[in-house]
């Protein structure tokens, strides 16, 4: 335990706290952007600081600082206690934490190739090569090729003796081709539209094979300019994993956050239709094919760690089992309110933010049976929708609408012509109940959402989603006037 942490815990104890924890976080972030053949940005950012969270009279207080000195530790711990006492003035239900045992240990993301040891010239060259391959293949208006590596060194110590150290690393790269003609602007990206970020090192970037995929997406972006508009109607849709992961994120991950259910996100992110009575009644969330877990142990996930940011060990928590809603993403404070132990989903965006319930890796499990290709072959008439372009869902996570970058007509089991600007909309449980096929593990892949927003002050989280693709029946597509 370092001196800053030690002193902050001492001061917190002297001021009469019933519980305190101190997190120190150092973050290193490296980004490179190549835009239409030019290095538009190359940056490296480093920051560090600590945050002190205390419980006084059953109320939380939190304060933080970038100055890692013993004097600042005293000021910040003192301020956290003062804030907690102010909070207690307008509090009706004292906070009660579950009885998590003392935790000690170390965790490090498995990394094959340290992204920070790969020369910057190599990273720039990889991006420039992919960018050039896009522009050589088709007449594009502009291109984007991005790289990001992020590493966090963090410690967690609490007033009951826990002492944890973690090193979390994520790396990603992606390419995007943009074609413009008059009022039409079409985009195709690879490997996803969220920067291709995964847990791990530079092996993630190499695995994406950006240059190899560049001509395909460039050609498709241009082809979409003259493709027919996605016609409105009720259709069978097959969602590629590159779209399905965000469907899981928005319509299962967020509504399963127990703090939303209890209203503490109501003023910003909203609440949830998955109220606690639905947990008790065994609410049918989806068809019997739907198994969804929040798995903080999944390899390669952006939500993979050793412990969450209140010292709860990583675990896999079932959220939906055979279509029945069975669990939430929880914290030490919220879990006891439904007579459970924390599932370890408290995560903070750095040293200067309080931990909130966040997704870990919310994964739709594959189903033995058909591959994704076999599901398409099994579909007589439908749309195959690939790569997210746009998303929107209401504050209770019921009414959603998504757009994908590209749609392909499915006729008699074969992929046919492109359609542009495909959209689909629905109501969450009706949609998931209409699922009649989930692809097997052959297309099961991990995706990352490195920009999940929540909380006030705002926090951005890295969360993961693995899925394999699925088919849904009788879905409204082609929404709006075009």
């Amino acid at each position: 335990m370092d001196h800053v942490t030690e002193r902050a815990l001492q001061v917190a104890a002297l001021r009469g706290t019933s519980y305190a924890d101190v997190r120190t976080v150092r973050r290193l972030d490296e980004r490179i952007t190549v835009r239409t053949g030019t290095v538009a940005g190359a940056s490296r950012r480093e920051d560090e600081g600590f945050g002190v969270r205390v419980l006084v009279d059953g109320a939380w207080g939190f304060a933080s600082s970038c100055r890692l000195t013993v004097a600042e530790a005293e000021r910040v711990a003192d301020l956290a206690v003062r804030i907690a006492r102010a909070s207690a003035r307008a509090q009706r239900r004292p906070v009660r934490l579950d009885d998590r045992p003392v935790q000690r240990g170390r965790y490090e993301t498995p990394v094959a190739v340290d992204p920070f040891s790969v020369p910057v010239e190599t990273k720039v060259a990889d991006l420039l090569a992919a960018d050039a391959a896009m522009r050589a293949s088709a007449p594009l208006a502009f291109t984007d090729s991005t790289y990001r590596a992020h590493r966090e060194w963090k410690t967690f110590c609490d007033s009951v003796g826990s002492d944890i150290e973690q090193v979390i690393t994520s790396t990603g790269a992606a390419i995007e081709a943009n074609a413009v003609d008059g009022d039409e602007h079409q985009r195709r990206s690879h490997p996803d539209s969220d920067g291709g970020v995964r847990g791990g090192g530079y092996e993630v970037v190499r695995g994406h094979a950006l240059q190899a995929h560049a001509p395909r997406i460039a050609d498709e972006a241009v082809a979409l300019l003259s493709a027919p508009q996605c016609p409105p109607g009720r259709r069978t849709i097959v969602l590629d994993p590159s779209q399905l992961y965000l469907q899981v994120h928005e319509s299962c991950g967020h509504p399963a956050e127990l703090d939303r259910v209890f209203g503490t996100e109501a003023s910003y992110a909203g609440t949830s239709f998955l109220t606690t009575d639905r947990l008790a009644e065994g609410f049918r969330y989806g068809s019997p094919l739907i198994d969804i877990v929040a798995d903080a142990t999944a390899p390669g996930g952006l939500g993979t760690f050793g412990w969450d940011d209140e010292g709860v060990p990583a675990q896999s928590v079932p959220l939906v089992r055979e279509g029945i809603f069975v669990g939430y993403l929880t914290s030490r404070e919220t879990a006891p309110r439904i007579d459970r132990q924390s599932g370890g989903a408290m995560r903070a965006d750095g040293w200067n933010r309080i931990p909130l319930i966040r997704m870990t890796n919310v994964n739709l499990r594959p189903r033995p049976g058909m591959s994704l290709e076999e599901i398409i072959a099994d579909t007589d008439d439908g749309l195959y929708l690939v790569q997210n372009r746009s998303w929107s869902i209401d504050d209770r996570r019921l009414n959603f609408q998504f757009a994908t970058e590209v749609g392909y007509e499915i006729r008699h089991g074969r992929l046919g012509s492109l359609v542009r600007n495909p959209t689909y909309t629905g109501i969450t449980p009706e949609f998931w109940r209409s699922c009649d096929a989930v692809a097997d593990e052959r297309s099961y892949a991990m995706f990352g959402t490195p920009n999940c927003g929540k909380g006030e002050p705002s926090q951005s989280a890295d969360v993961g989603h693995a899925c394999s693709g699925a088919r849904f029946r009788d879905v409204q597509v082609g929404v709006g006037r075009w």
Binding site: A40, R45, A141, T264, I354
Partner: protein, 450 residues
């Protein structure tokens, strides 16, 4: 508060510039971003989160000929600054040369702004925030609903120094109270106040506004999808300006062909005018941008016609123009953005706005909007926290939240009345001063129901 040379942030910036020069920079720019922020959050009519943060980060744009590297760090001791300069230099050293020279700002007059800083906000205590929260909670309680929201008090510092002699530092304050009141059946209402001076925010008034909407939202009816005239409250109008600011009124979007903007193109009705003006004390005044360029007023829409876009140094250089002072910190691949938008007030009272509707909808605010087709500015989202059916000019019932898929340019073209009152509100890009508007046709494409 604007200072030229005495701010402590500029002292650090000077040291960093000297280190950059010693490391071989031909040009350099330092941006210091500081925050002293606090926020009290309440839900179910009790405070559940209460936080404070102090942070200061230095960012160095190191230019070596036509090569650029940017490094940032919160470590501001001698060792930290040396490492920062070395890191930026190393990044620059391995870049390919840019086609165009890098342009940094030259020293120039900054606009004299006033009203951007308040001691009441900078020195706001957790006790003050708890009192405001208690006032909101009290107003909600009187109406028989619960309060959810947050009250934040922030002091943010921006300091810019570069090798051409720019030296500018400024601290501005913001206080923002956000409230949603909810009843037992999920009925919800919204209220918000934004101010430079925290002492001007009336928690009880915001609480009453949100609680009133929640009470009026009880027992909603279902309205089917269709095209209806709407009155958009200022909270919803913010989303229009924010979205169009991102999609169209950025010089980078125009340069890349992804903007709807064309000089002289009519995109809105005659009664719609918008502009960006960071110097107007009616908004949230700031004097300069993250490149050290003085803020300029930019007309975006003039009586319905595209009038201008905002520039930063890079887009201005490529277009042969001068920056309008809308640059973000380097490396900025997002382009310049209008962060202080205004919409001209009209002459309609609230009653007159509603009176023009035979069968339509009053929308308080939108939720989770996202462009479906960026170049045509087609956007989808939901209504939230107060959606009402209007018949023959009167609010007759609350309605369940509705999904829309709407061209925002089409909406501006269909504006047939603008309210006379304007509100200062927070948006995604910054802040906006906006009235209510009436739109003759709005495409609702789905409903949630309950």
């Amino acid at each position: 508060m604007v200072t030229r040379d005495r701010a402590p942030e500029l002292v650090v910036a000077e040291r960093l510039l000297a280190l950059a020069e010693r490391a071989g920079a031909t040009q350099a720019e330092v941006v210091m971003l500081g925050t002293d922020a606090a926020l009290t959050r309440f839900a179910n009519s009790e405070i559940h989160q209460n936080v404070a943060e102090r942070d200061l980060v230095a960012s160095l744009r190191f230019v070596a000929g036509r090569r650029v590297g940017v490094a940032s760090s919160g470590r501001l001791d001698d060792e930290g600054l040396r490492a920062l300069a070395a890191g930026a230099a190393a990044l620059a050293g391995v870049q390919p040369e840019l086609e165009e020279p890098v342009v940094l700002a030259e020293p120039g007059p900054l606009p004299a702004v006033r009203g951007g800083w308040s001691a009441a906000t900078a020195e706001a205590s957790p006790e003050l925030r708890a009192e405001v929260a208690a006032a909101v909670i009290g107003a909600a309680g009187e109406a028989g609903v619960l309060a959810f929201g947050s009250f934040s008090t922030d002091a943010d510092t921006l300091a810019v120094a570069n090798s051409r002699g720019v030296r500018a530092a400024e601290t501005v304050t913001r206080a923002r109270l956000v409230t949603i009141c909810m009843g037992a059946d999920g009925e919800a209402g919204y209220g918000e106040a934004l101010a430079v001076d925290a002492s001007t925010i009336d928690g009880a008034a915001v609480g009453r506004e949100a609680a009133g909407r929640a009470v009026r939202s009880r027992r909603p009816v279902t309205l089917g999808p269709g095209t209806y005239p709407v009155v958009l409250e200022p909270y919803a109008v913010v989303d229009l300006l924010d979205m169009l600011g991102t999609l169209g009124f950025s010089a980078l979007a125009v340069e890349e062909g992804r903007s709807f903007y064309e000089p002289g193109r009519r995109i809105a009705s005659q009664i719609v005018s918008t502009w960006d003006d960071a110097t107007d004390p009616a908004g949230t005044p700031t004097a300069f941008d993250a490149e050290g360029v003085g803020k300029q007023r930019v007309q975006l829409i003039d009586r319905g016609v595209c009038a201008g876009v905002v520039y930063d140094l890079a887009t201005a250089a490529r277009a042969g123009r001068r920056s309008t002072g809308h640059g973000l910190p380097a490396p900025n691949t997002f382009g310049p953005v209008p962060g202080n938008q205004f919409m001209a007030a009209g002459d309609a009272t609230r009653e007159e706005l509603l009176a023009g509707i035979d069968l339509g909808v009053l929308v308080t605010r939108f939720n989770y909007t996202n462009p479906v087709h960026p170049k045509r500015a087609i956007v989808t989202g939901m209504t939230r926290d107060g959606t009402f059916l209007v018949e023959r000019g009167e609010i007759v019932a609350p309605v369940h939240n509705l999904r829309f898929t709407q061209g925002y340019l089409d909406a501006l073209a269909a504006v047939d009345a603008v309210g006379r009152e304007r509100r200062l509100l927070a948006g995604e890009l910054g802040t906006c001063v906006v009235p209510s508007v009436r739109v003759a046709a709005w495409d609702f494409t789905g409903a949630t129901g309950r």
